[in-house]
Symmetry: C2
DNA sequence: CTGTTAGCGCTTTCAT
DNA sequence: ATGAAAGCGCTAACAG
C-alpha cells in the first residue's frame, strides 16, 4: 500500500495537521518540526494523492481564454475545441471563460488581460500579439502568481510559463523544403500570403521560409509578402492581383488564415497556370482544396491538442506540478491528400 | 455546486447505499426504486465524480503490455515509454507489467496472452500478430470482460476495444506520394524494404504504397519487397544486394524497422548513386541520416503518444467511460530535416 | 506552534 | 430490499 499522510505523521511523531502544513508550505510550524516531517516524507517515499487533495479542497480551476475575434475557420475551430473542453469541465474540475478581443490590437488585448486578471483565475491562456505592452501585462500576471500560457502565437521575452503552439520557424522551413522539392528544379517566383507581420507566428513562418528558400532553392525567388489580415476577401484580392501581375509565379505559400479567398483566386487561374501550393491550417476549405489538387500540402497545428495541452499545463502550474513535456509538445502536422484524418 | 449522491438520494427519497447500487448497476434494488433513482439522476443532471469514486474504492489499474522481443530502436523506444509510464504509475493509479515474447511468433503471443489473463488485469495492450489463433485469444479476453487494446499493429476481425496506432495504408500512400513528388518525373525503379509480411502494419504499408505508386506514378516501378525481419544485419545484406543487382533503382522505401542496416548500405552507394529515400520510425539512426541527407523523409508514429493513449483507453474501458476520440487518434508524423523535434 | 475533528463525494460493510 | 455508518487520503476550521 502506498504511504499516506497518516504514515508520515506517525513516522514523524506529529499530527496530520502539521504534516499538511508542511506539505502545503503553510506557516506555523517550527523549523525543527518541519525538518522532522520532511525527513519522514523523504524516507518513506511519500507521493501526495492529488485527486484526494482536490476532493478535500473542493478545488476547481477557473480558467480564462483570450482569443482574437477573427472570422476564419481556424479560429472557429479553436473556439469549438474550447467549447468541447467546457463540456468536459465537470470531470476536469475546470470552469472556462473565453474572452474575444479585436484582432491585431495590442491595447485591446492588454485591457482584456487586466480585466480577466481581476477575477483571479487559476490560469490564463491567450493568443498573444507580439508587442511590448502585452509583454508587460503578461509579466505582471506572472508576478502576481497567475499561470499564463500562450496559445498558437508566442510572446518571447515575456515570462509566460508555457507556449502551446508549434515551432513556426520550423514550419516555415518545412514549407520551403516541401515547395522546393515538389517543384524539382523548375525556375520561377514564389508568392507568399500572410495574415499580418504583427503576430509572431506569421513573422516566424515567413522568416523560416525565406531563409531556407534563399539557402537551398536559389532558382526560386520569393516575392514580397502579401498581408491579408486573415480575411478571405482581402486575401482573394491580393492573390488574384499578384498572380495577374507576376507571370513567373509557380509556387504559393499561404502561411496565415483566410484561405477561402486564396483558394478562390487559385481556382480562377487553375486552367492556365500550374501552381504548387503549400498552405497552413486544415479546415473544410483547405481540405477540399487538397483533395481536388488545388493545394499540394497542408501544414497544420492541432487546435484540439493545443487547447487540451493549455488546460493541462495551466492546471499543473496552478498546483506547482510537473507536466509530461513530450505530451505538451505541439507537433507540426503535414497533410498530403493521402493522410488526411 | 455540482449535485452529489446526497442530492439524488434526497430527491429520490432513498439512502446513499441505494443510490450507489443503482449507479454501479449492482443487484438488490427493486425495479421501481431503481427507476425512481434513475429519474432523479436524469432530472438533477448528476455526473459522477470519478476521482472521488476511485479514492473510495482504492481502485488501481493493473495493466499488462505484451511486446515482441525485437532488438531495434523502435521497440527500445516503445519500451522506454512504457518505463516512463511506470514512473507515473502512482499518480495514475496504474501498475504496469510488460511481457516480452518472441517476435513474429503467433503461438508464443497466444501463450503470453493467456498467462497474463490469468492475473485478471484491468486491461491488456499488445503488439498484435495477424493470425487467427491470436484473434481467437483476444476475443476470449474480451468475452471475459478484459479490455484489450492493440498497439502499433492492429488485429482486424478481432473484437479488441481499440487500436492505438497509425493508419498504415495511409502511411504507405503518403510515402508513395512523397517519393513520387520528390523524384519529379524521373523514370526508374523503387526498392522496398519491410520487416515481415506476417504483421499487418507492414502488409498494409506495402499495400498502400504499391497502390498509389501504380495509380499515380507509372514511371516508377516497384521491385519485389525485401523482408529484413526488422534486423539491421539482414536488412543491410538485402539492400546492398538489391542495389548492386538493380542499376535503375532511384528510390527506396523502408517501411519496417532495422534501418541501421539500411543506412549503412545506402551510404556505401552514396558516392555513385543519387537515391531518394523515405523510411519509417524516427530513431537516433534515421534522425542522423535525415540530417546528413541519406534519408529524405521519415514517417513516424509517436511511441509515447501510443503508450499514453493505450493506458488512457484501457482505464476508460475498464470503468466503462468515454474517451476523447481526437485525443486518441495516433497521427502519422512526417519529418523533413527542418521539423525534427 | 500543534492537535482534534469534521468532512469533500463516493463506496462498502453490516444491520435491519 | 434498504439504510446507517465508517472510511478512502487529504484539508480546514477551531481549540488548545
Amino acid at each position: 500500500m502506498r504511504p499516506t499522510v497518516h504514515d508520515i505523521a506517525a513516522a514523524a511523531g506529529v499530527s496530520l495537521a502539521t504534516v499538511d502544513r508542511v506539505l502545503n508550505q503553510r506557516p506555523g510550524v517550527r523549523r525543527i518540526t518541519r525538518e522532522k516531517v520532511e525527513t519522514a516524507i523523504r524516507q518513506i517515499g511519500y507521493v501526495r494523492d492529488v485527486a484526494a487533495a482536490n476532493l478535500a479542497k473542493g478545488r476547481t480551476y477557473p480558467l480564462g481564454f483570450i482569443l482574437p475575434a477573427s472570422d476564419n475557420s481556424f479560429m472557429h475551430g479553436l473556439n469549438a475545441e474550447i467549447r468541447e473542453a467546457m463540456i468536459r469541465s465537470p470531470a476536469e474540475r475546470t470552469s472556462i471563460r473565453t474572452v474575444e478581443v479585436a484582432a491585431f490590437d495590442p491595447a485591446a488585448l492588454v485591457a482584456a488581460l487586466e480585466k480577466l486578471a481581476d477575477e483571479r483565475p487559476a490560469g490564463i491562456a491567450l493568443v498573444a500579439i507580439d508587442a511590448p505592452e502585452v509583454v508587460a501585462a503578461v509579466d505582471k500576471l506572472v508576478a502576481v502568481g497567475i499561470p499564463v500560457v500562450t496559445l498558437v502565437s508566442d510572446l518571447t521575452g515575456s515570462r509566460r510559463h508555457h507556449y502551446a503552439g508549434i515551432d513556426n520557424i520550423a514550419a516555415g522551413r518545412t514549407a520551403a523544403r516541401l515547395l522546393g522539392r515538389f517543384l524539382g528544379d523548375a525556375e520561377g517566383e514564389v508568392a507568399v500570403l500572410a495574415g499580418s507581420m504583427l503576430v509572431r507566428d506569421h513573422r516566424e513562418r515567413l522568416e523560416g521560409f525565406a531563409a531556407l528558400m534563399a539557402q537551398e532553392f536559389p532558382k526560386l525567388s520569393v516575392l514580397p509578402v502579401l498581408e491579408g489580415r486573415d480575411d478571405p476577401e482581402l486575401a482573394h484580392m491580393l492573390v488574384a492581383d499578384a498572380l495577374a501581375k507576376h507571370e513567373r509565379v509557380i509556387g504559393v505559400y499561404s502561411l496565415g488564415a483566410g484561405n477561402r479567398g486564396l483558394i478562390r483566386a487559385l481556382k480562377a487561374k487553375a486552367s492556365c497556370r500550374n501552381l504548387t501550393v503549400v498552405a497552413h491550417e486544415l479546415t473544410v476549405h483547405t481540405r477540399a482544396a487538397l483533395i481536388d489538387g488545388t493545394i499540394d500540402a497542408i501544414l497544420n497545428q492541432n487546435a484540439g491538442h493545443e487547447v487540451r495541452s493549455a488546460i493541462r499545463v495551466l492546471k499543473a502550474k496552478a498546483d506547482g506540478l510537473a507536466v509530461i513535456d513530450a505530451q505538451e509538445r505541439i507537433r507540426l502536422d503535414i497533410f498530403l491528400k493521402d493522410n488526411l484524418p
